[in-house]
């Protein structure tokens, strides 16, 4: 294997793509964990539900793939809303219990989907233009990876706007910083939590509809993404900016190390680097400045 600037630049470009995949998987978790402090172990299964939503929409209703993406957001957001109302809202004061409860939810979801759809893998058809490769001179990236990068950028932009430029965002941040104080100013924290949970679930669903095309739709597909998502959120510190930085950084480290040595070693090094980093900076890259729960 010869190393050159062109292949290195390709590795950097790919790192951006890997980072965006991890970030889009982690966005929903960032919002739920960052705002409500819920350690949502069912996040991976919400991703899986998004993938199955896209699969069902495409297979049974004939919806085109690009339309499946926003529809998966809506479907899984509604599902998240139900979970929040039925279960999570009783547990906000008890973060460790949310961990166990959401883990239970994840098992129920996995088994439920297995009972409905069976264990055999499903796949999603993509439009032709997405299963091709785009070249920029010597650099190249698949059209689908470009779609994911673009999607991530749009979502991050949208959430920055919602969180920092709207009235609703001010309320969310107020509740995040101090729930009681916010409540004394007349903000309905229960309603804020409910909406952020639904929003976070919807984002997981959207990520799932994208991952379905990248790989395969299986009842246990979510377990692979949850570790990666938590890694990004914890390294980032729970804020949006932190997750963006952590996603980009871990993606680039993974890609460059995989390019220089190999994939397995890259994963191993990445975990070591993160452990060392968290030893010296347990609050993550950019802490949201919230009161620690």
């Amino acid at each position: 294997m010869d190393y050159s600037w062109v292949t290195f630049a390709n590795a950097l470009l790919l790192g951006l793509s890997i980072g965006s995949i991890w970030l889009i998987a982690a966005l929903g978790l960032t919002i739920i964990y960052g705002t409500a402090g819920v350690i949502n172990m069912a996040h991976g299964e919400l991703i899986m539900l998004g993938a199955y939503s896209a699969y069902c929409l495409q297979t049974y209703l004939g919806v085109s793939y690009l339309l499946c993406i926003p529809l998966s957001f809506v479907i899984v957001a509604l599902f998240g809303l139900v979970i929040e109302r039925v279960l999570i809202r009783y547990l906000y004061a008890r973060p460790l219990d949310t961990l166990l409860a959401t883990w239970g939810v994840s098992l129920v979801l996995m088994q439920g989907v297995r009972m409905i759809f069976g264990n055999d893998p499903k796949y999603i058809n993509m439009p032709q233009f997405l299963s091709s490769n785009v070249s920029f001179g010597p650099l190249s990236l698949s059209a689908f990876r470009i779609l994911i990068i673009a999607m991530t950028a749009v979502l991050v932009g949208a959430f920055w706007y919602v969180f920092y430029r709207t009235h609703f965002g001010i309320k969310i941040r107020a509740v995040t910083q101090n729930k009681e104080m916010a409540a004394s100013f007349g903000i309905n924290s229960q309603r804020i939590y409910m909406l952020t949970f639904a929003l976070g679930a919807g984002l997981a669903g959207l990520a799932g509809s994208l991952f379905a095309a990248l790989s395969i739709v299986l009842p246990n597909m979510g377990t692979g993404y949850i570790v990666q998502s938590f890694l990004v959120v914890v390294t980032g510190g729970g804020s949006l900016l932190g997750s963006v930085a952590a996603g980009a950084l871990t993606g680039e480290i993974q890609s460059v190390l995989a390019y220089l040595i190999n994939d397995t070693f890259a994963r191993f090094m990445l975990f070591i680097l993160i452990v060392v980093f968290l030893r010296f900076r347990p609050q993550g890259l950019f802490s949201a400045g919230a009161t620690r729960r």
């Binding site: 294997m1 292949t7 790919l14 893998p121 499903k122 990248l214 299986l218 692979g224």
Partner: protein
């Protein structure tokens, strides 16, 4: 009386000592650990140990289904000497600890006379210590890397020398010398690649790179970038499970084409192609002893019968499933031989294994064509075939060995010795039993 720490420790150590002694009280004599006896007309219990849930369920659930189909078929035709086979089906949940625990349960509690199961070398190695110490018998119905000589296993899948020895020269001749190896990161791909390197050297090929992906990972970007830079003529893949499907999908999405740089795989069969979508599998190559498209009356009967049965809901047959199906018939033939030789009450798993030596399944029984069990190493003589995936997801046989190829578990370790029915026989004549 309160429990003091000292008393607790004493009691605990007594219990531990008793537990350590207890199993030896139940260990039977030299005849073997198998406690139950068969009797005429009574069901013959066998274990079926596959993962029905979890990451390994994609191929293993199908194996469990086809096993039940084969047992139903044998029972409908009168069973074995008039006794029906009764399967005890257990879900191993894709967890190596569960495999080992459930193997113990099958042998000790259910008293099965043989077990059919496992799909990965990891699970085989997890259950073998139990199978060997209990002197039971494992039918391992898929491919593996060899380098084992256990006296309690019969394997109906291909060994490395029956799997890639034809594939590598075929690919080198058809597409060119330069090749890139990609595999999942565990024992079978690494051993398979050791073999493949040897065949590659003999075929005059050139290895450009060798990469492994963590099991279950679906990010092939870095590896595909390396392949893009290396420009091989073809790729040799031992990627398994969900990763394999991600690999093929991303291969096409990254702009590679099967016409210019095909993937020659040891794993990507009909099940995997169905899971990834036909257009992602089309054009690539697979080496296997069985393809659904094989054109012979036995295979037509097997495919039609299985798909029409209540077990055929997944809509395809596959080399793994066929190897499981033939293992049931090897069991039947061997048990019949053992019963004829020893009488039904006396039969033990060890006798079934001994009787399996040289058992031959004719064209009329085996969908892949006649196969037989090697009388030394108890792997299977079979005809390796190479198929190319077509646009509709079926495989077209493009090459096949002229006749059955002998299984050679130590083909790349000639110094280890020769695997015989008694054990691994070294050059100096010493025999080591239970080599795993």
């Amino acid at each position: 009386m309160s429990i003091t720490r000292r008393r607790f420790i004493r009691n605990a150590s007594l219990t531990a000592a008793a537990a350590a002694v207890a199993p030896s009280l139940f260990l039977p004599g030299a005849k073997g650990a198998w406690g139950a006896t068969l009797s005429k007309g009574k069901p013959i219990k066998v274990g079926v140990l596959f993962s029905l849930t979890g990451g390994l369920a994609v191929p293993e659930e199908d194996s469990a289904l086809v096993m039940q189909y084969a047992i139903d078929e044998i029972n409908a035709a009168g069973g074995i000497n008039g006794s029906p086979i009764e399967p005890v089906i257990i879900d191993a949940k894709s967890d190596m600890n569960v495999y080992s625990e459930k193997m113990r349960e099958l042998i000790l509690r259910h008293k099965v006379i043989s077990v059919f199961g496992c799909y990965t070398s990891a699970s085989r190695k997890a259950v073998l210590p139990t199978v060997m110490s209990q002197r039971n018998l494992l039918f391992y119905p898929t491919c593996y890397e060899g380098a084992e000589c256990s006296q309690n296993v019969i394997c109906t899948g291909p060994l490395a020398n029956q799997h890639s020895r034809d594939l590598i020269p075929f690919m080198v001749k058809t597409f060119g010398k330069k090749v890139f190896f990609v595999g999942s990161n565990y024992v079978w791909p690494k051993e398979s690649n050791k073999n493949a390197k040897l065949w590659l050297e003999q075929a005059g090929g050139e290895l450009l790179g060798e990469e492994y992906i963590p099991l279950g990972s679906s990010e092939f970007g870095p590896i595909l970038n390396k392949i893009r830079a290396a420009k091989p003529d073809f790729i040799f893949s031992t990627v398994v499970g969900a990763s394999d499907i991600a690999f093929h999908r991303q291969f096409k999405q990254e702009g590679f084409s099967a016409d210019k740089m095909p993937i020659a795989s040891l794993t990507t069969g009909e099940i995997e192609t169905r899971a990834m979508g036909n257009e992602f599998g089309a054009g690539h190559f697979l080496s296997a002893p069985y393809f659904q498209a094989l054109d012979n009356p036995t295979n037509h009967r097997f495919v039609e019968g299985f798909l029409a049965s209540k077990y055929g809901k997944n809509g395809t047959t596959h080399y793994n499933m066929e190897e499981t199906y033939t293992s049931a018939y090897v069991f039947k033939a061997a048990l019949e031989k053992a019963i004829a030789g020893h009488g039904i009450e006396e039969v033990t798993p060890a006798m079934i294994r001994a009787a399996a030596a040289g058992v031959r399944l004719e064209d009329s029984v085996s969908p892949e064509g006649a196969v037989w069990i090697d009388e030394n190493n108890f792997n299977t003589w079979l005809v390796p075939k190479i198929g190319q995936c077509q646009a509709d997801g079926s495989f077209k046989i493009v090459s096949q060995a002229p006749s059955q190829v002998a299984p050679d578990p130590f083909s790349i370790y000639p110094d280890a010795g020769k695997c015989t029915a008694e054990g691994l026989k070294a050059a100096n004549g010493s025999i080591r039993k239970d080599v795993i």
